[in-house]
């Protein structure tokens, strides 16, 4: 599979006074899962819908290997998208797909194929009105896969999925990317996609705050050291040299922005009796939160 390179260039969308998306640029590479992360109202859905020709941007363009969505001859074969689980409740899962098969340019047999791929084969003949939220998310994914696309664009695909469903979704997009496909998915929780994505793009209040491989995000997590000593006075005296340090309780101090080596050496030099010395990283979620809360 040859996934397209998804390139968002200078995308701006204004709704009256609201600047929903402000000069957003980033790329999603083939063979990788790109997580598009931001809090509620950040502009994720607006960006994804603009990419798919559903929203006319105020400025900027989104291309799939150089071509806009509207220029794709058979879009369903290039990009499969799942934006929200919206279906006619009176149609069966199979019929829902059958209404789209002519547009996607695929034979009807493909409908049962994708239903099987998402584990809905048994529910194919039931009305969607009776589906659970998790089943609807799966049907949405099946819809995205109908045209056998080389790229997937998924807006909050983990919404409403139980832990087993999330694990399944994770494995699914990982294997899609491993076969060379491009995956761009959004989420408002880093933890939800931490084990799924290769690259992260962080958006908040319409602007890109960070874009890098996930690994580089780990590097931004500043370490902190926890030091425990039964000698409270000695402990307080030692950590007073770090203005940010704070006492968690009478025997435990937390010193942000330091390593265990640094603190251990200082304790040794001060001949402090040490009962515990641990270095811990700031959680990625905290790093993410910090990024999204930074002033524009």
């Amino acid at each position: 599979m040859d996934g397209p390179r998804i390139e968002v260039a200078g995308l701006t969308k204004r709704y009256g006074d609201v600047l929903a998306v402000d000069a957003v640029s980033f790329t999603a590479e083939p063979g990788r899962v790109t997580g598009f992360l931001g809090p509620n109202g950040a502009g994720k859905t607006t960006t994804l819908r603009s990419a798919l020709g559903l929203i006319a941007p105020t400025a900027g363009a989104i291309t799939f290997s150089g071509r806009r969505f509207s220029q794709l001859p058979r879009p369903a074969a290039v990009v499969g998208a799942h934006l929200e689980p919206a279906f006619h409740p009176g149609r069966t899962g199979r019929d829902h797909l059958r209404t789209l098969a002519p547009l996607a340019g695929v034979p009807d047999s493909r409908c049962d194929e994708v239903l099987a791929m998402v584990g809905l084969a048994d529910a194919a003949g039931r009305r969607v009105g009776g589906y659970s939220l998790g089943m609807r998310q799966r049907l949405g994914l099946a819809t995205a896969l109908l045209g056998d696309p080389a790229a997937l664009v998924l807006d909050e695909p983990a919404n409403g999925l139980d832990p087993a469903g999330i694990t399944w979704m994770r494995a699914f997009v990982r294997s899609f990317a491993a076969r060379g496909g491009t995956v761009l998915l959004s989420s408002h929780l880093l933890a939800e996609v931490e084990q799924t994505v290769d690259d992260v793009v962080v958006i908040a209040r319409g602007r890109i705050r960070h874009a890098s491989p996930l690994a580089d995000l780990h590097a931004l997590a500043s370490p902190e050291t926890v030091l425990r000593s039964p000698d409270e006075a000695g402990l307080r005296r030692l950590v007073s040299r770090w203005p940010d340090a704070l006492m968690e309780d009478s025997v435990t101090a937390v010193i942000p922005g330091t390593t265990a080596a640094e603190v251990g050496a200082a304790a040794h030099a001060a001949q402090l009796e040490v009962h515990g010395l641990t270095e811990r990283g700031e959680s990625l979620e905290r790093v993410f939160l910090r990024m999204t809360e930074e002033a524009a």
Binding site: P75, A86, H88, P89, T92, H96, R98, L103, G147
Partner: protein, 268 residues
Amino acid sequence: MIASIRAELRKATTTRLWWILLILMIGTIAFFAGTFALALTFGDTGTGPDGQALTIAPKDMAITVYTLGVSLGYAFPLAFGAILMTGEFRHRTLATTLLAQPSRGRLVLGKLAAALPFAGLYGAASAATAVAVGAAALGLAGEPTMLDDADVLRSIGLSIVAMAAWMLVGVGFGSVITNQVAAIVTVLGWTQLVEPILRLALGFWEPAAPIARFLPGAAGEALAGGSFYSTTGLSDLLPAWAGLLVLLGYGAVAAGIGWLTTLRRDVT
């Protein structure tokens, strides 16, 4: 384009709406055809605006009864056509459709084309119901059924066309008023209340009378050549061909407006 039509046909056949509305329409027309046939033959037909007694020739009576679908049942094909479009908004499936086929013009044309077979079906069912029940009621009342009269048969045939045209108007209407509840309330309000009142009111005021002929309901009746209102001498109708043009014109203008306005909007 073929793909769009096939997709829209499948959308229409994979929900229960088409046969539910069809059965409701048949029931409604059967009721009115029976009641009217008996009322027109036995009842006191009253007086017109000029105070003269309203007398109805057997042929006019037959046409009025056999084309009652066009006079009183057109809300059903109209509503079905409208829901073909508004359903996409109500169930938020428009985005999914446009992801597979991004052209919004093609979407509207596909829906209009896919509505044609249903339009024919509703038209045929409407005419068949009105004729079956109407003829039975007329026979019961001892009136001639007039089913061997060429003009009567022509009217019955044209009533099928009129009902079909109504469905296309519905598709156009649904692309302007995309809120399903608003669309259905408007369809019912207009067909059951506003237009009948307008036509009666305009009929009583001489200078405005010609305008009444161009109202969509009057155009539909003109096409079928029979009208409860005109039979009773309360208003004039256009020639049949003009009625068809006016009716399809409403549909085309509405579809055009919908395509240029609502369907151009962001799908959020």
